[in-house]
């Protein structure tokens, strides 16, 4: 094996109080591949994505991304993995531009100002760049959150319901964006209820029920 797998989940379980949100899950995803994650609400998709993003860690088992263990190598991995979550991670009182500039400066993006302006243009928020996030609609927040994710091209993008709250044009843009990420060599994990759309964008599928993998891996 010349290259370690993008994702290697080994017998992972995650407990919330008395409940196992994810139970004895094992799968791998080769570098450059895209995975579709399906399952009902509460099936463990979000928990799994949060564990892959190093936001939280398994109660038992191991997760390795690019050969690095998430718990031990979190600082290095966070630089390479990006999470688009239900929560937008935005500061409500900062403007769209200020929200992005904060991330750009913390990530050490060169020419932060230009990069932020380009991204705002890309997600169609240039005219609203000075409004605080508080005044944004759900769809606009989603766009801003995507721009936040794209500030530095990640090696692995974790997308939790990226199509939610977007209008049809936004959904098409999002599809194009995911293809662009894939073509650029970024690994993608896509959790969505829109199975058909998801399947056209991904190579493999993992279906979760009660935190367990169901059916064979495609």
């Amino acid at each position: 094996m010349s290259q370690p797998a993008a994702i290697e989940v080994v017998d992972v379980s995650k407990r919330f109080g008395p409940r196992w949100a994810v139970a004895r899950l094992t799968f791998t995803l080769a570098t450059g591949r895209a995975l579709l994650l399906t399952g009902h609400n509460g099936s463990g998709k979000t928990t799994l994505l949060r564990m892959l993003a190093t936001a939280t860690f398994p109660t038992a088992g191991h997760i390795r991304l690019f050969g690095q263990e998430t718990r031990a190598e979190r600082a290095a991995l966070r630089d390479e993995v990006a999470l688009l979550s239900h929560a937008s991670f935005l500061y409500e009182d900062l403007s769209a531009e200020q929200n992005l500039t904060l991330v750009a400066r913390l990530r050490g993006v060169p020419q932060a100002k230009a990069a932020v302006a380009a991204l705002l243009d890309k997600v169609g928020l240039t005219t609203r760049s000075d409004s605080p996030a508080r005044h944004f609609s759900a769809g606009m927040r989603k766009r801003l959150a995507i721009a936040r994710l794209l500030l530095k091209r990640p090696k692995l993008a974790l997308l939790d319901e990226p199509f939610g709250e977007l209008d049809p044009a936004g959904i098409r843009q999002m599809e194009a964006l995911i293809r662009e990420l894939k073509d650029g060599g970024t690994g993608v994990v896509l959790a969505t209820h829109l199975v058909e759309q998801g399947q056209s964008l991904t190579d493999e599928r993992l279906h979760l029920e009660n935190g367990r993998a169901v059916g064979a891996q495609a």
Partner: protein, 266 residues
């Protein structure tokens, strides 16, 4: 009535060693309890018997056998309970600090349960100690509450650890509760000496700590006896409270051995 006599019959002299022997016994039992899990079935019972037995004899010793103190008279007798109660509270809260630190270094439900047990028992002993201190202060200093450094520190300490116990009640996720309360436990423990020092600077009129060599040996003996009795009870209280906390934790979290089976839907 005897006052401040420092010569005693050889019989009495021998009796003065009794508390030290009992203390050694209690400490040995606690040691066995901590280091030999198999012995725990009986060690706590033995400690309970010793503690209750000694506590029954304690009023006789403290109220009648030992002569009244030279300056404070009979009111000074309350110190035979007040002082050891506060000592025990400090021991329990020190244990809480140790358990909190242990949890942050290596997660374990045992140290979390021990932290919970020791804090609660510590607050109980501390509350009794502070109340008795206030009762003693009324005839001695003329007011229930004097802003003396030790009393004030002890009272604030109770507030600090009541907050700690409240925090534990207000967090449902057991792991977060354990971690956060451990952090608060460490902050609180580090605060104790700081608090003590600053209040002392701020105002002090408490008796300076007596050195055993300047006190009638009979009094020292009764004080040590009381402390031994309360230590045995403290150990039993903490252990029983620990069992309750552990059982609760077992109920709250599926422990690692209860990991679900591989594959299949439940």
């Amino acid at each position: 009535m005897r006052h401040w006599t420092l010569t005693y019959s050889s019989q009495t002299q021998a009796l003065l060693w009794l508390p030290m022997i009992l203390l050694a016994l209690v400490l040995a039992l606690i040691g066995v309890h901590v280091f030999d899990p198999k012995a725990r079935r009986w060690t706590w019972k033995a400690l309970a018997v010793i503690g209750v037995g000694m506590a029954v004899g304690q009023p006789f010793l403290a109220l009648s056998w030992v002569p009244p103190e030279k300056y404070m008279g009979d009111t000074g007798r309350i110190l035979y309970v007040h002082v050891p109660q506060v000592w025990m509270a400090l021991i329990a809260l020190t244990l809480n600090f140790g358990a909190s630190l242990a949890f942050l270094l290596k997660k374990s439900w045992v140290s979390d349960a021990l932290a919970e047990a020791s804090a609660e028992v510590g607050v109980l002993f501390g509350a009794v100690g502070v109340t008795l201190g206030a009762l003693w202060a009324k005839p001695t200093w003329g007011a229930y509450w004097t802003w003396d450094a030790r009393l004030t520190t002890a009272a604030i300490l109770l507030v600090v650890y009541s907050g700690y116990l409240a925090l534990r009640k207000f967090i449902e996720d057991p792991e977060k509760r354990a971690t956060w309360s451990a952090v608060v436990g460490i902050f609180a423990a580090v605060d104790i000496p700081v608090l003590w020092f600053s209040v002392k600077w701020w105002r002090s009129m408490h008796q300076t700590q007596s050195n055993p060599s300047t006190v009638d040996p009979l009094m020292t003996a009764v004080l040590r006896y009381s402390a031994t009795a309360f230590l045995a009870l403290l150990a039993v209280f903490i252990y029983q409270r620990f069992l309750v906390a552990s059982a609760k934790r077992n109920e709250e979290v599926a422990l690692p051995e209860a990991l679900p089976a591989v594959g299949g839907t439940p």
